[in-house]
Amino acid sequence: MDNTNSINYNPVTMLKLPALFTIILFIFQLSISAQTISGKIVDTSGKKNISNAVVALLTTTDSVLYKFTRTNTEGKFEIKNATSGKYIMLITHPYYANYIDDITVTESNLDLKQIPFVSKSQLLAEVIIKSGSPIKIKGDTTEYTADSFRVEANANVEELLKKLPGIQVGKDGTIKAMGEKVTKVLVDGEEFFGDDPGIAVKNLRADAVDKVQVFDKKSDQATFTGIDDGVKDKTINLKLKDNKKNGYFGKVSGSGGLPANYNNTAMINAFKAKRKMAGYGIMSNTGQTNLDWRDQNNYGGGMGDNMTMTDDGDVYFTGGGDGEDNYRGGRNGIPKNWNGGLHYSDKFNNNKISLNSGYKYSKVNSLGNTTIFSKIFLPDTSWNNNSTNKTYSTKTKHAFNLTYEVMIDSSNTIKWTAKANNGTSQTSNEYYTEAIDNNGNFINNSRRNTTIATDNNAITGTMLWKHKFKKLFRTLSLNADFNWNESKNDGFLLSYNAFYKGGQQIRRDTTDQQNVRDNENTGWSTKLAYTEPLFKDAFMEFSYAFNSNNNANNRISKVKDISGKYLTILDSLTNQFKFDRMINRPGINFRYNKKKVNYAIGSSVAFNRFVQKNITRNTSYTYNFMNYFPTAMITYKMPGNKNFRFNYNGSATAPTLEQLQPIRDNTDPLNIYEGNPGLNQAFRHSFSASYSFYNVLKEKGMWSNLQYSTTNNAFTQSSRIDSTGARRYQTVNVDGVHNLNFYLDYNFKLAASGLRLSFSPTINNNQNIDFVNGRKNTNKTTSYGLGLGAGKYVDGKYNFNIRPDYSYNHTTSDLNSNANIDYWQLSAWLNGMVTLPGKIELNSDMRIEVRQKDPRFPANNNYTLWNASIGKKFMKNNLEAAFGVNDILSQNRGFNRNFTSSSFTETYYNTLRRYWMLTVTWNFSSTGAKPADF
């Protein structure tokens, strides 16, 4: 049997060694041929041949293994091709003490003859001991203050230990304290990674250490029983400095531009270990009404709560729907806002308890102007409807939140959350609408002024208890929610409505009233869910949900009495209602998770009971519904990151009380909603199939998705429009509503240029049905889209993206062919960034909207929104200055086009036009602290 193994360094490794070394070796090899080292290992008793002993040659400089072999049955060994030089020879065997000796290989073969296997020569490492600095001895613990021992900047803990008296670090990394070998190194009392002492001391920076403590750690058993079994490990504990975990960071940013644009923000986060205290303030009239994602994490409450992960590893994000976001894009006017927030969170008791709390304040003033042009089509007639609305609102909001989570033990966690909000607002509207026939004559017109003051209060609380049983994957969870809210509205309505026939006014009425409306809602819901593992990879889930909701709605309408004050109560519009809803919903679901295929099938049933009480008239309606919610899902995972998924969802929607029995409202006499007590629940079947793949190495991928849904007894509107243009409408059931969507995105990277290209076609087809003056109208819309994208990213130099989207829209209505429409639309989006010499960054983005003109709407809706900014960072990125212009061409338009079966509508709203701003941002932080990044 030949037991000889030897390692030959191949030339590739040689090249990686420092060049000098390679050259020396090269010369060495030229002049000197390789030698053979041989010998025989014998037991000191001299009688025994020792086989299988490892004979290894280590380099003298750093004990790197050079060559090794094992002895044969006769105890002989041979190491071939050893180059001349000095080596450490290490001979090991499980039952003999190690033999270590220095050998020198010269130009001739080396025969070591007999090597007696007893020597206990040890590679005793040089030990550096220095003394004379503060050391404390507490009981059996010796404590060193790290800062008293000087080490170089960026030195690791090993360097520090070398300076501590009584502690020795060997050349091979062995640590000895008070003459005994250290077997454990802890960091803040915990094992750093595994229990290899070398790892912690090599990976930690010396300046992070506050104290070095040396003690004998008793065995875990002894600690537990209190009986000393004599087993002790010499242990070093590295106590980290607190200030490595403490610090603050923040930024102050001011932006201003003429005539009066500003956007100023200030944020700070001060942290100490797990404790975080943060605050921010924003003052803006250019649309920044909230923190962005990153700032939300660093200066607000964080986003962690918005992410949920399922047992299959799917991840869902739920948006933190703050009301302030409603202003994005100018849909609700141009806001001028003041926001502030405070955040406090901490973790206690080894992270087992966490507390998270916050307060937010916002005040938003906004002025909005909206103009709407629409064309209405009836079977026998058509007309135009135009309106303008000018709104001014001021809203103030205070919001508090508190989350408290306790991990009771490894199988139980409880989480409480509580939120409280108070919001007040004042809104005034000036509204004008007119209906004009095709000859240019009025059909009706209406001028309406409203003012309304609202006061909203809300409290919500939830409790979630999760329990894991001893059996793996068997779990129980209980979720209980409570919510309460009230809203008080006090408003005035003044409207003048005129109706015409053949251009002649035939009727005129005036409404002048005060409306006071109070609404109070209290709800409870609980859900109990239990998961039972059936067999490998198969799970059964049972759930039961109970929901109870009580709503009280009071409404008082008053008109002026003789004295001119709103004191006379209008009985027809004054009422008091109570709505009670109760839902019981048991459910069952079977889930099977295999590596390649996952499927789930299940259903739940909801038993609904709605009670509506009209307290004013002492009447009561009760509605009972039973809804089914079947679901089925299957996912195939194929090699090459390919995925196929099919999904079915059936869901029943019960009509709302508003649809069954609405409260009478006369705010808009031209649009009056009526109830339909005979309304049935709607049932929607939706199917979706998706296929995707991504090839990481070729950097190409595809996502595609096909969705189809059809609804039985769908809710739709039935309108009756009289000759004066006034509309009365209600919700009715109809069959035949369906919707089809197809989406595909294919993207790949051109290897040569690094350009990333994408191609995405879409198809959309839907059929909606409604009723106008008793006639059924089927409205079909088909649209085809094609998006093309190109982009490139070069780190630190430049990046750009171009994305044009072309779409074609085809709509037909069988009620009036005048409502048919075909048009195309092109939206293109471009952006780019270039880093110029001197670390100057140039950013620009552009949005182009081009729509085919419709002869029915003369206005030109095409526009190009172009923004650009230039910025530079100074003082190690602590100071940033930027100059930017928004909407350089001053063409921005708030515009929206919308179709229904019998109308189409274009909406224009005021937006911010061209403005420039100069921004200066100062980023500050304590040493070592910095905002978190992705």
Binding site: F193, G198, M303, N641
Partner: protein, 240 residues
């Protein structure tokens, strides 16, 4: 009690003095990955940390004879599994230590490859430290792989094959314990079985797209160059 054990131990050793070195067997490695640490720092990482187990435990098996070995996944601790599973469960490492090369069946971003190349050339620094693993006295050696990644290995000279988990090799004995701090992973042998070893099972995998490991590495490095530390760990996982 202790004394009795000690004497029994002496007697046992005395009787096996002409001991047989182990040249074939099956080793089970307990592989622990610190998921939280490997996620790194930052907003994303912090969000994940609450949702995944801190440490996942897997078990791999090395079947070896004197100059060849096969290393593959056997099972995992279900309680600590990652929700989206582990891509390496079908990987097979076949090492021919005698001829200094390997054949590996590797899942690389969802595609099955059959990689061939010579074994990693690791510069091992031998230390004086020792530690007992699975009843074997092991010596510590420190190596560097992929130019800069430290590997702390414990090998025993009582097992004659110069192998170890994955494609780690080159020490005068079998590696029974490994810690790779930058991959936040440790491999520790929990069981060494020396009888009933079916050597016919030590054979090279055959399925997969054939490729030279060093060539694929170039492609992978190019595709993952913008992935930061996570990409680095992915590359190391593929080519170790």
């Amino acid at each position: 009690m202790k004394t009795i054990l000690f004497i029994a131990g002496l007697l046992f050793c005395g009787s096996c003095f002409s001991q047989v070195f182990i040249s074939k067997g099956i080793v089970e490695y307990e592989v622990k990955v610190n998921n939280h640490k490997s996620m790194g720092e930052g907003i994303w990482a912090d969000m994940w940390k609450d949702k995944i187990p801190k440490i996942s435990t897997y078990y791999y098996q090395l079947t070896f004879n004197n100059d060849k070995a096969v290393y593959q996944f056997t099972r995992k601790d279900e309680a600590t599994r990652m929700p989206w599973g582990n891509d390496n469960e079908e990987d097979i490492w076949y090492n021919d230590y005698g001829n200094y090369n390997f054949v590996q069946k590797k899942g690389v971003f969802g595609e099955a490859y059959l990689l061939k190349d010579s074994l990693l050339n690791i510069k091992w620094k031998i230390s004086n430290e020792s530690r007992e693993i699975a009843g074997f006295n092991c010596r510590k050696a420190t190596g560097i792989i992929f130019d800069s990644v430290y590997v702390f290995a414990f090998y025993t000279d009582e097992i004659t094959v110069s192998g170890g988990p994955m494609s780690l090799s080159g020490l005068p004995g079998l590696i029974l314990g490994v810690t790779i701090p930058r991959m936040f992973t440790s491999y520790v042998a929990t069981k060494v079985q020396v009888t009933g070893v079916d050597e016919s099972k030590i054979e090279a995998p055959k399925k997969g797209k054939q490729k030279k490991a060093s060539e694929l590495k170039e492609t992978v490095l190019k595709a993952t160059k913008d992935w930061g530390s996570w990409g680095q760990q992915a590359v190391w996982n593929i080519f170790l």
